[in-house]
């Protein structure tokens, strides 16, 4: 669109025609204050904070609804504008309690900031402020009506951003208030977007409220350890404890988006059943031992089995870092001399990498003109990816196609919906051929319904459309993709995970951050070593249990569902635990393995080796260090890896494997997993 020239406060500003004045001013470095205006959401023009003088207009104009025009002359710094701001703030404060000293938002409150900059300093209202008691809408969301300034950001982010519309504005005028779907309680994703977007302390979260002050926390930006979407979450840490997660600085691929898991489900790390000391099995059950003794026990047995040419099995994790995955497979292959290494495969990434087709980034989901979602309930299982697609539909009118077994939330924004029986996904996709071929470009997302041969057929279908097509293979957990690309897969006759569990003749089984006994029975009586945070089903059966640090307690990199590599930042420590990488190193050293060949067990050293040896991972370290995301690839398709069937963990918004079971917040919400939305 053509640019227009206008003048704001005497400064000549150029902006595309139709840009809103408030945006044009902000881009030129001129702040026009606003509460209700929010980039990316529908216009409201309710708060009247953005009033400015426009030459030839008879009265003050709202900058949030006024498109710029050629020759427009705007003044934001006149006495009349200053008076308007002052008066609006006086109104906003009529009933707003001045409980800033105890309010959660104190110190990071937009109303505080605005009154500080533009407010009157004193009020002419002498009347008693109306009080309404605080309400608990869910264990996550609390509403304090008197603090609410009725900007309706929460209502809009819930309806537009999340596609849920759990909040409304009831009544009108001075008696207006925000109300949840069910009158007194919420029925929603419990994502907390409404809380973070609230400019004041009207909406507060059950995990954070009245616990600490914002300035008393350290704010550590790291990657959420729950699903595979790779959202940046900025953890608020005080006294070695996570008090909240949010992403108000919009760093990371997710901008300000986070679901309940990224915001509130970090509490698993502080669960009282967290393992804090190594355990070794004795005749009367587990005996707590020192780290030195535990490592000695494991290394001793491993060395002995290695020496007599015994049989090892290694099961890696889809939560641990790339560095840990890489080091583990190297240690297994060179140190233990086994190719029996695998992890719980939740999506057929391997087949997609082998198809050598372009892979989509999370940003592509927001920009692509068309998106096809095959065989997955995206809003339930990949909340961020669904958010991106919904934003794309809202902002760019993207055409969305769904091929699914039952109703999904994306149906509401779909250009076409295809219902299929299990196994009918590819045939369903085929019925969309004519429509898809007319699109200028396409991103295809598929879950575990498409695997093996079907992936090849899907990519052949994509290639035959004659348009640029990119793909996303949906996987669960924070580093499933990385586990594949780092080679936590069997090669050359090595056993897959189900084969190892069923073998019966393994001498040792080493399980790192996984719980295979939940899905498989273990045949035979191998020496079982488990590294985990909790005494899972698998850990309960172990001979040695080593308490591991969670992703929030370590550094390293992870690769999200779209292949974007991002850096974890250690946010705090849980004394007694060690990172998996350190445990690997200690075992290797104790076994007397060739440490020169294995390399140092520090994340940066291992990543340097990954960059040299893993195709597609020679990534700019400085971008990662600065907190950026870089898509890995192209991969060489891991020609040596053994293919095996995959199965999604089937987690929903309110479950997250082992970690989810130990998150009190996830288990406290009333929404039944997966049964939330009929349509």
């Amino acid at each position: 669109m053509a640019n227009v020239k206008l003048t704001i406060d005497g400064k000549t500003v150029e902006a595309p025609a139709n840009t809103l004045l408030i945006e044009a001013a902000r881009r030129a470095g001129i702040e026009i204050p606003a509460f209700c205006y929010y980039e990316g959401l529908a216009l409201q023009a309710a708060c009247r904070m953005c009033l400015v003088e426009v030459e030839k207009a008879p009265k003050l104009m709202t900058a949030c609804t006024l498109p710029v025009a050629e020759g427009m002359v705007v003044r934001t710094n006149t006495p009349q504008v200053a008076q308007a701001r002052k008066s609006m703030l006086e109104f906003v404060l009529t009933n707003h309690p001045l409980d800033c000293p105890v309010c959660d938002k104190g110190g990071e409150c937009e109303l505080q900031d605005m009154v500080f900059r533009y407010g009157a300093g004193e009020s002419r209202f002498l009347e008693v402020k109306q009080h309404v008691d605080e309400r608990e809408w869910s264990p996550v969301v609390f509403y304090d009506r008197p603090r609410c300034i009725l900007c309706f950001r929460c209502v809009r982010i819930c309806a537009e951003g999340m596609g849920v519309a759990a909040l409304g504005v009831v009544n009108r005028g001075a008696s207006s208030e925000i109300a949840p779907n069910r009158g007194d309680h919420l029925e929603c994703d419990e994502c907390g977007m409404c809380i973070d977007i609230c400019p004041v302390g009207a909406l507060t979260s059950g995990t954070y409220r009245y616990r600490t002050r914002p300035w008393e926390m350290q704010h550590v930006g790291t990657i959420c350890t729950h699903c595979a979407d790779g959202c940046k979450t900025t953890l608020g840490i005080r006294n070695n404890r996570i008090h909240r997660g949010n992403n108000r600085d919009r760093s990371g691929v997710n901008g300000e988006f986070l679901c309940i898991k990224g915001r509130y489900a970090g509490d698993f790390a502080h669960h009282e059943e967290r393992l804090l000391t190594p355990l070794v099995r004795s005749q009367d059950g587990f005996k707590p031992v020192s780290w030195a003794e535990a490592i000695k026990t494991v290394a001793g047995r491993f060395a002995e089995i290695r020496q007599r040419g015994g049989k090892f099995g290694v099961i890696g994790s889809n939560h641990t870092t790339n560095e840990e995955n890489y080091y583990l497979q190297k240690l297994a292959r060179t140190g233990l001399g086994t190719n029996n290494i695998d992890h719980h495969r939740t999506g057929d990434v391997l087949s997609l990498l082998r198809a050598r087709v372009p892979l989509a980034t999370t940003a592509d989901l927001y920009h692509s003109k068309a998106v096809l979602i095959v065989g997955v309930d995206l809003a339930q299982q990949h909340s961020f990816l669904a958010y991106q697609i919904r934003a794309n539909w809202r902002h760019h009118q993207a055409r969305v196609y769904t091929v699914r077994r039952g109703p999904v939330r994306e149906d509401k924004i779909a250009a076409r919906i295809v219902s299929v029986e299990p196994g009918g996904e590819l045939a369903g996709v085929e019925t969309l051929r004519d429509d898809l071929a007319k699109e200028p470009e396409l991103v295809i997302l598929f879950g575990d319904a498409i695997q093996g041969e079907a992936v090849a057929r899907l990519t052949e279908f994509g290639s035959s459309l004659g348009i640029p097509v990119k793909y996303v293979c949906l996987v669960d957990y924070s580093n499933s993709r990385g586990a594949v690309e780092m080679g936590v897969l069997p090669a050359e006759g090595g056993m897959t995970l189900p084969e190892m569990m069923a073998a019966g003749d393994l001498d040792a089984l080493w399980v790192v951050g996984a719980n295979p006994l939940r899905r498989h029975a273990l045949a035979g009586k191998p020496f079982l070593v488990v590294q985990d945070l909790f005494l899972t089903e698998t850990a309960q059966a172990a001979d040695v249990v080593l308490p591991a640090a969670s992703a929030y307690e370590k550094s390293g990199t992870v690769t999200n569902v779209c292949g974007e590599v991002q850096r974890l930042q250690k946010a705090f420590e849980t004394p007694g635990t060690k990172t998996d990488l350190e445990i690997f190193g200690l075992i290797a050293r104790e076994m007397g393995l060739d440490l020169k060949q294995l390399g140092p067990w520090t994340p940066s050293a291992v990543f340097a080796e990954i960059a040299r040896t893993v195709p597609g991972y020679d990534l700019p370290v400085e971008v990662l260090e600065a907190g950026g995301a870089v898509q890995a690839g192209p991969s060489d398709g891991l020609p040596d890896a053994v293919w095996a069937p995959v199965q999604s963990a089937g987690d929903t918004l309110f479950t997250s494997g082992t970690l989810g079971r130990y998150s009190k917040m996830l288990n406290a919400v009333r929404e039944a997993p997966g049964e939330l939305y009929r349509a």
């Binding site: 209502v155 309806a159 519309a165 409304g168 009831v170 009108r172 779907n181 009158g183």
Partner: protein, 154 residues
């Protein structure tokens, strides 16, 4: 559950708009005409039928003071409390109504006959004070006339 007639009528209205939700006010009125008011259950049913969340439809329902979200009597009295009526003796008429019916604003008589509500200007200031009972407008009200008017509504 909405009755088949209610559903059919709402569908008819919805078909005349490009967006189904645009029929939300009509739909609420359809339900209210048949039931006298809109219950939480009816609201949720209408919301589902129009592809909205209950919270969204509630925003519409509570914005309009003539959509009743609580049960009302067989007849609803709307008495104007705006400035012209006030100048012309609204307070006397109001007090008489309250005393005669034995209720306050927002309440319903124990026999379920009348609900009394205030309303803003009814657009008949030249004949103030004014009130409406159901669909009928009553002009030039005096306490004495009120009694005769109420007799007409069983």
């Amino acid at each position: 559950m909405l009755t088949p007639e209610e559903q059919r009528e709402i569908e008819q209205e919805a078909a005349s708009y490009p967006e189904r939700r645009a029929a939300s006010i009509d739909a609420l009125r359809i339900v209210q005409r048949r039931r006298g008011w809109v219950s939480d259950e009816a609201l949720a049913d209408v919301a589902e039928l129009l592809g909205m969340s209950p919270a969204e439809l509630e925003s519409v329902a509570t914005f309009y003071n003539l959509i009743f979200r609580k049960p009302v009597g067989r007849h609803v009295i709307l008495i104007c409390d705006s400035v012209s009526c006030w100048i012309m003796g609204y307070t006397k008429v109001r007090d008489h109504l309250k005393a005669r019916l034995g209720i306050n604003f927002g309440e319903t008589t124990s026999d379920g006959r009348f609900t009394l509500l205030p309303i803003v200007c009814l657009g008949a200031c030249d004949r103030a004070p004014v009130m409406m009972v159901d669909e009928d407008t009553h002009l030039d009200l005096t306490p004495a006339r009120i009694d005769a008017i109420l007799e007409r509504y069983e």
